[in-house]
């Protein structure tokens, strides 16, 4: 695909994504309104306009499925708008499902999702429409088509047939007889004759086929050309128009009884609505309105590819290098008393340069920031859906949706948060009956709180459910041989609950569509760790469970600790560094072949970077321990010297080094030195994974923090 096509596609995706997000926001409001008996008709209109715009642009860019789903939604919304279908939970369900399908289709266009099941949504929509809407959702019903023929159409052929039927293009059945010996050329001839005026949907061997050396084909055509003209093209082969079924009966209102799913019998007979020019007239003013809205939105904002911001960030990084170079020159000038006036002037300029550079950096970082609100909206949709599937009542309370975080982090956050939400609904919140029995409000509450804390953003997912049962966790962990009973005895309740983060803790036998999806909390922890964040868990039996995610605000620039091992220099993000201490060689003891030190009464596994990386540097007695922590796991990294703290822009290593584990990238320190940035999560995994089975170790801390 050319760059231009990519650009156009990206624009389309960005705009569609915005529409879909606003759709789900409006739907949530509608849902809320409906539950409290006062749904705002303007919201229905707003959703309708959004869907209509989406249908338009999807059609324009040739995304048929997307356009088709939007079309179905539009029809449903039109019915809602005109009061022909009542706004009810059942109709909202279908709308939510439709928006979810749209979301997935967009994902598929982005290449993130491989298969999207639109059939089940079609079924739900058809079920809701019942008999009224059958002609709208299934235009084929209008034609008197042979069901045996419909049965053998490929998906594409059926799609083409449907598309033509939707556009009310007349359909024709043509029977042609070809000699078997020349069928290829004869068929090609027929195709090329018909192509300018008709679309061949399919051709099949006819049922009453064939003499010995001839074969009769039944050809299904769609054409707007009059039958008489078509006859001329096909010679003496018989061609008939396929009859359309009687229109009035098709659009006849269904009997009021038995139309389930919140449908009400239409108060006004709708026959004219879906046919002829009536629709065109109806649509024209809406089109104008939707476009005006789109234009206004464009005028206020600029969409920028995030790679352009990365590029700017790179340039800023380079300017930072220039800044420190000038700083070094200034240091040298400081020694020259004869140059003092000019040095002082340069100092002033340098300081001003620094200030502007910082402002520039803040500005670019600010552009990358997006409020978490959009993400939370998507989660709200998930809560609603999962709660319904579990038949639980759950209310989502969101705080701090305006907290901003790096766009790239947001993208990576959705899956982990979805997982936590599913857990909370599935495992956390009790059933209505159970809640009523223990005197809780039958409606469970899940709170999503976000706030900024220094250079971090904290996101909490909190439920008021049953809490995590430590004894069951322990039993499960022992059963899965994640630890032995011996070491289990040393753990207190909160420590036991951390075991849910162990790989292998959540198991396939309870994979349901609703909660697990086979992915455990260990994956959540790893993904959060990859973003430079940590996840913690606090749970009180009977009161609820709270997961706390602490994330850096941005990935673009981070503070790092620069350290040395022999001739090698490495940087490690400060977000994972708890502290650094002087290494006392005498304090090292060996437990199960692993070096440990005791830090404030707890043992801490340590690893010598020189050994881990086989740098070939001779082991030294003196050195420092850099205590790194990710969630509950801790590791001491032994280095020779600490060089200090520095803001760095991490750049990716080339694909040729993709297989090298342990590095998140490299950075230019500004004095001609490129240093590797350690990938703390992968190092912790690597070093501590030897302890996955804690079995033989009775060490208290290992069992608590070590295994991964």
């Amino acid at each position: 695909m050319s760059d231009e096509a990519d650009r156009v596609r990206d624009e389309f995706l960005a705009e569609s994504q915005e529409i879909v997000e606003s759709l789900s926001r409006d739907l949530l409001l509608l849902d809320h309104g409906q539950k409290h008996g006062r749904a705002d008709p303007d919201l229905v209109n707003s959703v309708f306009r959004g869907v209509h715009t989406l249908k338009g642009i999807a059609g324009m860019f040739g995304y048929r499925e997307l356009s088709e789903i939007a079309h179905v939604l539009e029809d449903l919304l039109d019915h809602l708008r005109l009061g022909r279908v009542q706004l009810a939970q059942s109709s909202l369900d279908v709308l939510f499902e439709g928006v979810e399908v749209l979301q997935r289709l967009l994902g598929a266009i982005r290449g993130e999702v491989h298969e999207v099941d639109i059939a089940s949504f079609r079924r739900s929509a058809t079920a809701l429409f019942g008999a009224t809407a059958a002609p709208v959702t299934d235009p084929l019903a209008a034609y008197d088509l042979d069901p045996s023929m419909l049965g053998v159409l490929t998906e594409y052929e059926e799609h083409r047939l449907r598309t033509n039927a939707e556009m009310r293009v007349p359909l024709y059945r043509l029977r042609v007889r070809f000699a078997l010996s020349s069928i290829d050329t004869d068929l090609d001839g027929l195709k090329s004759r018909l192509k300018p005026v008709a679309e061949i949907i399919t051709y099949l061997p006819s049922v009453e086929s064939s003499g010995d050396d001839t074969i009769e084909l039944e050809v299904l055509l769609a054409s707007a050309t009059p039958l008489s003209d078509l006859r001329q093209l096909v010679g003496d082969a018989p061609i008939d128009a396929i009859a359309t079924r009687d229109r009035p009966s098709r659009t006849m209102p269904p009997p009021p009884a038995g139309s389930g799913g919140g449908m009400v019998a239409p108060s006004v007979a709708p026959p004219a609505m879906r046919t002829g020019e009536g629709e065109g007239r109806d649509l024209a003013p809406r089109d104008a309105g939707a476009e005006a809205i789109a234009v206004r939105a464009v005028a206020k904002t600029v969409r920028v590819d995030i790679s352009k911001l990365d590029h700017l960030m790179n340039v800023i990084g380079e300017l930072g290098i220039v800044r420190s170079a000038v700083g070094r020159v200034l240091d040298r000038l400081g020694a020259r008393s004869d140059l003092r006036p000019i040095t002082a002037e340069l100092h002033r300029i340098h300081r001003s340069f620094e200030r502007h550079l910082e402002a520039l950096q803040d500005g670019v970082l600010d552009v990358r920031m997006v409020p978490l609100g959009q993400t939370f909206d998507r989660l709200a949709r998930a809560v609603r859906q999962v709660a319904r599937e579990h038949e639980k009542e759950v209310r989502l309370v969101v705080n701090g949706g305006d907290t901003e975080i790096d766009k790239l982090i947001v993208e990576e956050l959705i899956d982990p948060l979805l997982h936590l939400i599913r857990n909370a609904v599935g495992h956390g919140i009790e059933s209505r009956d159970q809640r009523a029995r223990i005197g809780k409000d039958p409606t469970g509450i899940i709170a999503l709180n976000a706030y900024q804390k220094g250079n971090h953003v904290v996101i909490e997912v909190e439920d008021d459910g049953a809490g995590i049962d430590a004894q069951r966790v322990l039993a499960r962990a022992v059963e899965r041989k994640l630890l032995d009973i011996q070491s289990a005895r040393d753990l207190d309740d909160q420590e036991i609950k951390q075991l849910v983060f162990l790989p292998g803790f959540s198991t396939a036998d309870e994979v349901t569509d609703l909660s697990g999806r086979g992915v455990g909390l260990d994956v959540v922890r790893t993904n959060i760790g990859r973003l430079g964040g940590v996840i913690d868990l606090h749970s009180t039996t009977g009161i609820g469970t709270k997961f706390t995610l602490t994330l850096p605000i941005t990935l673009a620039i981070l503070s790092a600790l620069v350290m040395r091992v022999g001739n090698h220099t490495f940087a490690i993000p400060l977000t994972v560094v708890q502290e650094a201490l002087f290494l006392d060689p005498n304090a090292i003891r060996v437990v199960d072949g692993r070096e440990m030190i005791t830090l404030r009464g707890q043992s801490l596994p340590v690893v010598r970077l020189a050994e881990l990386f086989r740098t070939g540097d001779p082991p030294r007695q003196r050195g420092y321990v850099v205590v790194t922590s990710l969630g509950q796991r801790r590791l001491g990294i032994v280095v020779d010297a600490l060089e200090g703290q520095q803001d760095i822009v991490t750049k990716a290593l080339g694909p040729s080094l993709a297989s090298v584990r342990g590095f998140a990238g490299a950075t230019d320190l500004g004095d001609q030195r490129v240093v590797l940035v350690l990938d703390a999560p992968s190092l912790l995994d690597e070093v501590l994974s030897a302890d996955t089975r804690v079995a033989s170790s009775s060490s208290h801390d290992l069992a608590r923090g070590g295994p991964s």
């Binding site: 750049k651 080339g654 694909p655």
Partner: protein
């Protein structure tokens, strides 16, 4: 900063090596095609890469070694802000690795599609124009090298007068080399 100014002067030197379109390489006197190669030394051998495959020539700058990387990887270096992996051509071709720094050593930046790699060579000597008849297919090369080699260049050997002991240039296949 010296590194930056290096880059500046180097990119200007590389622009003088800018590859000409293939069509323009055809010698005006004969219809025979000529090809341009960048010739360099690796462990005493003369070798060449198609000139068009070399984007830039850098002086040997400090290279940061990458622990755990394959043996042929010398390390990484920042080329105008982009982290670039540098491969030692000697090690890659199974020759004795270089010892210490060398004034004449250069890094050739070669595009392998999704990544620009640096290739360390001992020295860059010249740009060679070879006629098709001066290029010999690579059948006769030792097994270890064969996969990276497209042919042997024998300058001034046209017309079949192969002078024994004449100058031979091992022509490398950038695609195979960087795979």
């Amino acid at each position: 900063m010296t590194q930056r100014s290096n880059d500046g002067s180097l990119s200007s030197s590389s622009s003088s090596l800018a590859p000409a379109p293939r069509a323009a390489l055809a010698s005006p006197r004969t219809t025979e095609a000529t090809y341009e190669f960048l010739a360099f030394e690796v462990s005493g051998d003369r070798m060449g890469l198609p000139l068009g495959s070399v984007k830039e020539i850098l002086k040997l700058a400090p290279i940061t070694p990458v622990p755990r990387a394959p043996g042929e990887v010398l390390g990484i270096l920042s080329v105008r802000g982009r982290i670039t992996t540098v491969i030692c051509l000697r090690t890659k071709l199974g020759m004795v690795p270089p010892r210490g720094a060398s004034r004449s050593a250069r890094i050739l930046l070669v595009d392998r599609g999704h990544e620009i790699l640096g290739l360390r060579v001992d020295a860059v000597t010249e740009v060679l124009r070879l006629r098709a008849s001066e290029i010999e297919p690579a059948d006769a090369i030792g097994a270890g090298l064969a996969e990276h080699v497209t042919g042997l260049g024998r300058p001034n050997s046209a017309g079949g007068n192969v002078v024994s002991g004449g100058e031979v240039i091992v022509l490398l296949d950038p695609v195979a080399l960087l795979r």
